[in-house]
């Protein structure tokens, strides 16, 4: 027995408090949409400001010459530091992820996951201080290598977490198939599991690169006393780099310095945007491939 308080035969227009509930629901929907648009707007304003101020500084000389005309040595130095950092962080991060998804179980694994999350939230200035004590104090000089180690610490949890997520997407029946062939787990990891996840692993590495390329605090401590007029290929001395240069130029309080800082910011932002967007496209393609 239904005790319907409405007339089932009435026209299907809103009745009772539906009008009020509708209005409230619409209000919430508009609020959420506005918040989302505001986030996009903030990014838009930042990008717009950087482009407006920085584009005028751009020229071939600016990209390829050293100080005072350009940021060529900084571009090379940042590339070196990030590359070394990636070479350190990526293999370790991938191995951590392999441990977490293929071997680790129980309490140790969940502790490691928690550690990765904490590492991800570690203030980069603290990482910089740590590496300063570890390497710069011991060797009595700043170096690109020290900066790379700091960036590696920042990249490691990003690579590991991203790789864990992608390895969890590898269908478990592939692991079963490999197990059932009497092949040891490590061989399965190398031969089946990592190859099927390679796109996603590359993506998390690229995202980590994008994050690390703009890190400034550790570089101020570890690789800031350099000669910006020449390219250096020796990672065991302080390497010119873009974040420190932006900081230094902004502090000069001269119009040319500001313009150059905006220009360097434009270059850095362009690099980070392109790598991030590229990584996400790659990730989407990997996911849809793995979902088949």
């Amino acid at each position: 027995m239904s005790d319907a308080s409405f007339d089932p035969a009435a026209p299907l227009t809103p009745s009772g408090n539906l009008r009020r509930r509708r209005a409230f629901s619409r209000f919430a929907e508009y609020g959420a949409t506005a918040a989302a648009l505001a986030a996009v707007g903030v990014l838009g304003i930042v990008v717009f400001a950087v482009v407006v101020h920085g584009a005028s500084a751009l020229s071939l000389d600016f990209l390829f010459q050293g100080a005072p005309n350009g940021i060529g040595p900084e571009l090379v130095g940042t590339a070196e530091i990030v590359a070394i950092g990636t070479l350190i962080a990526a293999p370790i991060g991938i191995l951590v992820a392999v441990y977490l998804t293929e071997f680790g179980t129980g309490r140790l694994a969940s502790w490691i996951k928690l550690t990765l999350d904490l590492m991800n939230g570690l203030p980069s200035i603290i990482v910089g201080l740590f590496v300063f004590g570890l390497i710069v104090e011991a060797t009595h000089k700043q170096s690109g290598f020290a900066a790379a180690v700091a960036l590696a610490i920042i990249m490691l949890p990003i690579v590991a977490r991203g790789t864990v997520e992608i390895l969890l997407l590898v269908p478990s029946n592939l692991r079963e198939a490999a197990d059932a062939l009497g092949v040891s787990r490590w061989r399965s990891v190398l031969g089946v599991i990592l190859p099927s996840a390679i796109g996603g692993i590359l993506t998390s590495t690229v995202l980590a690169v994008a994050r690390a390329a703009g890190e400034t605090a550790p570089l101020l401590l570890l690789s800031s006393v350099y000669d910006p007029s020449r390219v250096s290929l020796n990672p065991f001395e302080a390497l010119p780099n873009i974040p420190t240069t932006i900081f230094r130029l902004s502090e000069e309080a001269s119009p040319e310095g500001f313009t150059q800082a905006w220009g360097a910011g434009f270059v850095l932002l362009t690099f980070i945007m392109i790598t991030s967007i590229g990584a996400r496209i790659l990730l989407a393609r990997t996911r849809s491939k793995m979902a088949q």
Partner: protein, 298 residues
Amino acid sequence: MSNFDSREFSQAVAATPHRVRIQTGPLSDAGPSGGKLWEGPIEAVFDAQGVSVFYGSKQALHGVNLRIERSRITALIGPSGCGKSTFLRSLNRMNDPVPGFRLEGQVLYHGHDLYASNVDEVEVRRRIGMVFQKPNPFPKSIYDNVAWAPRNLGLKHGLDERVEKALRGAALWDEVKDRLKDSALGLSGGQQQRLCIARAIAIEPDVLLLDEPASALDPIATASIEDLMHSLKGRFTIVIVTHNMQQAARVADRTAFFGLEATAGEPSGTLIECADTETIFSDPADPRTRDYVTGRFG
């Protein structure tokens, strides 16, 4: 085990003076059993003795005593949830990673306790291969799917011949010989499943365990898998779990019927009876088997 067919069991035991003979050398066409299936005493490959399986506190299987004979096809049938797949997966230790998995009793494989502490599960699976319900080819080429395990096991000599032989053995060679480098994921479901069988036999295991290998396939692909099983008979000892009773009747020499039985209040799976397939389908000893195979329950 009150419902176990004791006649059958004692006959089988009596017929098997060498229950703990150890297999030597790889099984191949020219192997010790080639073409002489019905002569002499039939050796047990597996001998399950009082096997009970638990997942945590839940009992999935209790008191299974089952001999699985060499070079024959044994079908495990029964309703859902009666522990057929659990039993099958216990035969090559695929249940080991399942959290809370525990096995009581003994599973003897050529006389060796599969769950003894010195047994390496990777070695177990190298000898006892498995094909799963859903085709699960690796996202590699057709050739690499078959060649991957032999390569990793150090069987690199004559790899091309080995791959061809496995694909021929799985009745897939003619369909794929011109596109061995193509991705295995481009094959149809039935072809993928035959590829998985080829992959399993490429390392020449002793036993093939098939867990409902045709349940995800259409009738035509199913028929080709069944034909394939007939052609593999004799080369391998085959244990197949199937929901499809006609399939069991068509392919199996021996059929084991699993059912649910209440022990200590909670129902868990157990072996009701095991006999020659003909006997199970025409004159089963247990009324529950009769009800199931005639479609009155299940």
